[in-house]
C-alpha cells in the first residue's frame, strides 16, 4: 500500500491506464508533463492554495453533528462540510486546480461534462474567474432533473450543451465531451470532474481533492486528539471519496467505506453500483469496474442522485477494492431520501442527494458502534439543487416535522 501509484502509464495495479484515441494521446502526454511541472512549482501551489482559501472559502469546517449523534445513539458523527464550499460542493477544489493549470498551459477554452451539474457549475465558475470560454456537456435527462444548476451555469456565462445520445445522462455527456475535445484539442482544456478518465486525470483530480482529507486529519486531531475510526463517502466516479480517503490510506486503523448508489435495489438492475455489481472493463480512457452486459456493452446506470448516475468508478477505487483497503457498500434511493430528510430536520443541513447516500450508511452503522467511536462523513455537497425534485417526488407524502422536538 505504500507504493506510489499510479505508475508512469497511469496504472493502479491492473486498473487505470490510458485507453484513448491517438488524437488525444499527445494532449494527454502534454497535460501529464504540464501537471508534473506545476506540481513541483511552488508558485503554482501557492496560487492554488490562495484561491482555495480566499475564493472557495477553505478550510471547510469539520462539524460535530451532536443531534444526529444523539438520535442514532452510537458513534460520534462528524460532518466534513464540503457543502459550504463556494458553489456548494467539493467540485470547486478540482476545477480551480485544473483551470489554473489550463491557464498556465495557455489554453483559453475549457469544456466539461456534468451529471448533477455541480461539476459544471464549478467549472463555469472557475472559467468566469479566469476569463475563459466554457462549454458544459450535460445529458438532457439531467438538464430536466437539475434545472437550477443549468441556470447557474448560464448565469456564469457558460454554454450548456444538451446531450441526447444513449441515456442522456453523465456517461453520454462524457462521451460527447471527449468527442468535442478530439476536435478542439489544440486550444481547449478538458476539465474532467472526477477521478476517472485517461491518465493523468485520476491522479490529478485525486491530488487536487486531497485537501479534503488533509484538512479532516488536522481537524479531527485537534477536536478529538486522534484519528477517526470510520470515514464514509459516497461514490459516483469517486472524487470526493478519494479526496478524503487518500490522506488516510496508510492509517491502517481508519476504516474507510465508499457508498455506491443502489438505486431501486441491486436486484432490480436499476442502480449505479459498479464495484458491487460490475465487472472490470475499459471505458472513458481507463480500466475499472463497469456496469456492462456479457458482450462488453456498457449498461445504463441509474440513481436518484444525478451525480452518482455513472456506470464506472475511478480506477483507484477499483484498486482499493481489490486490495481491500476500502469497503464498498450501497444505499438505495429510498434510504438516501430518508437520510436527506433526516439530516435536514435534525441538523438543519440539507445534503446533496449524492452525499445523502453517505449519511444513510452512517445512520445504519452508527447505532452499531459504541459511543467512543468516531465516524466522519464527507458531506460532499449541499442539496438546494435537489429540493425541487424531492418536493415533486414526495408530493403529498412529505411529513411535516413540526413535532420532532
Amino acid at each position: 500500500m505504500n507504493k506510489i501509484l499510479p505508475d508512469k502509464q497511469g496504472h493502479f495495479g491492473e486498473f487505470g491506464g490510458r485507453y484513448a484515441a491517438e488524437t488525444l494521446m499527445p494532449a494527454l502526454i502534454e497535460l501529464e508533463e504540464a501537471y508534473a511541472k506545476a506540481k513541483r512549482d511552488r508558485i503554482f501551489q501557492q496560487e492554488f492554495r490562495y484561491y482555495l482559501k480566499q475564493y472557495a472559502g477553505r478550510e471547510t469546517p469539520l462539524y460535530f453533528a451532536e443531534r444526529l449523534t444523539e438520535q442514532l445513539g452510537g458513534a460520534k458523527i462528524y460532518l466534513k462540510r464540503e457543502d459550504l464550499s463556494h458553489t456548494g460542493s467539493h467540485k470547486i477544489n478540482n476545477t480551480l486546480g485544473q483551470t489554473l493549470l489550463a491557464r498556465r498551459m495557455g489554453k483559453k477554452k475549457v469544456i466539461a461534462e456534468t451529471g448533477a451539474g455541480q461539476h459544471g457549475v464549478a467549472t463555469a465558475t472557475a472559467a468566469a474567474l479566469f476569463g475563459m470560454d466554457c462549454d458544459v456537456f450535460m445529458g438532457e435527462e439531467d438538464i430536466d432533473r437539475q434545472a437550477p444548476n443549468v441556470f447557474r451555469m448560464q448565469i456564469l456565462g457558460a454554454r450548456v450543451i444538451p446531450v441526447s445520445s444513449g441515456t442522456a445522462t453523465l456517461k453520454d455527456a462524457m462521451n460527447e465531451a471527449m468527442r468535442q475535445w478530439v476536435a478542439r484539442v489544440r486550444d481547449t482544456f478538458y476539465v474532467i470532474g472526477t477521478t476517472a478518465g485517461p491518465h493523468p486525470y485520476p491522479m490529478m483530480v485525486r491530488n487536487f481533492q486531497t485537501v479534503i482529507g488533509k484538512e479532516t486529519k488536522r481537524q479531527i486531531l485537534k477536536a478529538e486528539g486522534r484519528l477517526p475510526d470510520v470515514i464514509i463517502a459516497c461514490i459516483g466516479g469517486g472524487s470526493n471519496a478519494m479526496g478524503i480517503f487518500y490522506p488516510f490510506k496508510n492509517d491502517r486503523r481508519v476504516k474507510m467505506i465508499g457508498v455506491e448508489a443502489a438505486g431501486k435495489g441491486i436486484a432490480s438492475g436499476l442502480h449505479a453500483s459498479s464495484i458491487s455489481a460490475g465487472k472490470i472493463g475499459v471505458l472513458h480512457g481507463n480500466k475499472t469496474y463497469l456496469l456492462q452486459d456479457e458482450d462488453g456493452q456498457v449498461r445504463d446506470a441509474y440513481s436518484i442522485a444525478a451525480g452518482l448516475d455513472y456506470p464506472g468508478v475511478g480506477p483507484e477505487h477499483g484498486y482499493f477494492h481489490k486490495t481491500g483497503r476500502v469497503d464498498y457498500v450501497n444505499i438505495t434511493d429510498a434510504e438516501a431520501v430518508d437520510a436527506f430528510l433526516e439530516l435536514s430536520r435534525c441538523e438543519g443541513i440539507i445534503p446533496a442527494m449524492e452525499s445523502a447516500h453517505a449519511v444513510a450508511y452512517a445512520m445504519k452503522l452508527a447505532p452499531k458502534l459504541s459511543k467512543n467511536k468516531i465516524i466522519v462523513i464527507n458531506l460532499s455537497g449541499r442539496g438546494d439543487k435537489d429540493a425541487q425534485a424531492i418536493a415533486k417526488k414526495m408530493e403529498g407524502t412529505i411529513e411535516h416535522g413540526q413535532d420532532r422536538g
Binding site: 502509464q9 491506464g17 490510458r18 485507453y19 484513448a20 484515441a21 491517438e22 488524437t23 494521446m25 499527445p26 494532449a27 445520445s165 444513449g166 456517461k171 462521451n175 471527449m178 468527442r179 478530439v182 476536435a183 478542439r184 484539442v185 489544440r186 465487472k279 472493463g281 475499459v282 471505458l283 472513458h284 480512457g285 463497469l290 456492462q292 456479457e294 458482450d295 462488453g296 456493452q297 456498457v298
Partner: protein, 266 residues
C-alpha cells in the same frame, strides 16, 4: 504474407490505390451485411473494415454512433460478427479488418479472441482506444495468430510517436485526416500531402487516409497522396437511408463503383 499485405503489394504493382470501406456490422443486420460485403467487393472494394458496435463510441461522429446503436438493438455481438466473417471466408478472400473499441474484445477475452479471429479469417485489427502503450496485453495473442495490428496516426501525433507506433504495427497505418471524430469535417489535400510525407519518412508501412472522405471527388483528390483511402460515414449513411429497400445492395455497389472509378482515373 497476409491478405492485407498481398493486396497492397498487388495494387502497388499496378500503380493503384487501395479503396477501403468501413461498415458497422449488424446495421441493418448480419445477413444483409454478408450480401453487402460481396457487393462491395464486386464493385471494387480492396479491403473492408468491419465495425464492431460499441455502446460508447467516443471516436465516432453522429452517423456511426447511430449505426452502432441500431446494430446493438439488432443484438449484434462480437461472436456473431466472427461467425459471419467465417462464413464470408468460404466465398471471398477480401482482406477484413475488425474495427472497434477495446471493451468488447477485452470482455470476450484477448486470448480467446485472437484464436477465434484467426480461425474466422480476420486479417487485421484496429482498436481505436488501444494506443501502443496499452496494446501489448492484446498483441501478445493477436501477433502470434498472424493478425495485423493496425494503428491510427493523428495530425497531432509527433514523429517520436509515429516511430513507436510503426514499430508495433502491421498491415498499414491509418492516417486520421482531420482532428475530429469520424465523418465530421473535410480533409484538406495540402495538409494530407504534407502529413503522409512526414509519416513516410519515418516508416515503410503503407499509409491510408480516412475520417472525412465522403464523395468520389474528395477521394480522387486524396487517394494520389497516399496508398489508399477509407470511406466510412458516407457508406454507413447510404446504408441507413436504404436499409429497407430491396435495391440496397445495388445502391451500395453503385456507390462503391463510383469511388473506384474516381480513384482509378488518377
Amino acid at each position: 504474407m497476409g491478405r492485407i499485405e498481398d493486396k497492397l503489394q498487388y495494387l502497388k504493382a499496378k500503380n493503384e490505390k487501395a479503396l477501403i470501406f468501413y461498415l458497422t456490422a449488424g446495421d441493418p443486420g448480419l445477413d444483409v451485411m454478408e450480401a453487402l460485403i460481396y457487393g462491395l467487393e464486386r464493385a471494387g472494394a480492396d479491403i473492408l473494415e468491419v465495425g464492431v458496435p460499441f455502446s460508447d463510441p467516443t471516436a465516432d461522429g453522429p452517423v456511426i454512433q447511430a449505426a452502432s446503436q441500431r446494430a446493438l438493438k439488432n443484438k449484434t455481438t462480437l461472436s456473431g460478427i466472427l461467425h459471419l466473417i467465417e462464413k464470408v471466408r468460404r466465398k471471398s478472400d477480401i482482406p477484413i479488418v475488425l474495427f472497434g473499441y477495446y471493451n468488447p474484445v477485452f470482455i470476450y477475452g484477448c486470448r480467446k479472441f485472437a484464436k477465434r479471429a484467426e480461425e474466422a479469417g480476420v486479417d487485421g485489427l484496429l482498436i481505436v482506444d488501444l494506443p501502443f502503450e496499452e496494446s501489448p496485453e492484446l498483441r501478445r495473442y493477436t501477433d502470434a495468430c498472424g493478425i495485423d495490428f493496425i494503428s491510427l496516426i493523428a495530425p497531432t501525433t509527433n514523429n517520436d510517436r509515429i516511430k513507436a507506433i510503426a514499430a508495433q504495427s502491421g498491415g498499414f497505418l491509418y492516417y486520421i485526416s482531420i482532428t475530429g471524430v469520424t465523418g465530421t469535417a473535410k480533409p484538406k489535400p495540402a495538409d494530407v500531402k504534407k502529413e503522409v510525407h512526414r509519416i513516410k519518412r519515418i516508416t515503410s508501412l503503407p499509409v491510408v487516409v480516412g475520417f472525412g472522405i465522403t464523395t468520389p471527388k474528395e477521394a480522387s483528390a486524396i487517394a494520389p497522396l497516399a496508398d489508399g483511402i477509407v470511406v466510412g460515414s458516407a457508406l454507413v449513411k447510404l446504408i441507413e437511408e436504404n436499409s429497407r429497400r430491396a435495391d440496397l445492395i445495388k445502391k451500395a455497389e453503385k456507390f462503391a463503383a463510383d469511388f473506384k472509378k474516381a480513384i482509378k482515373q488518377n
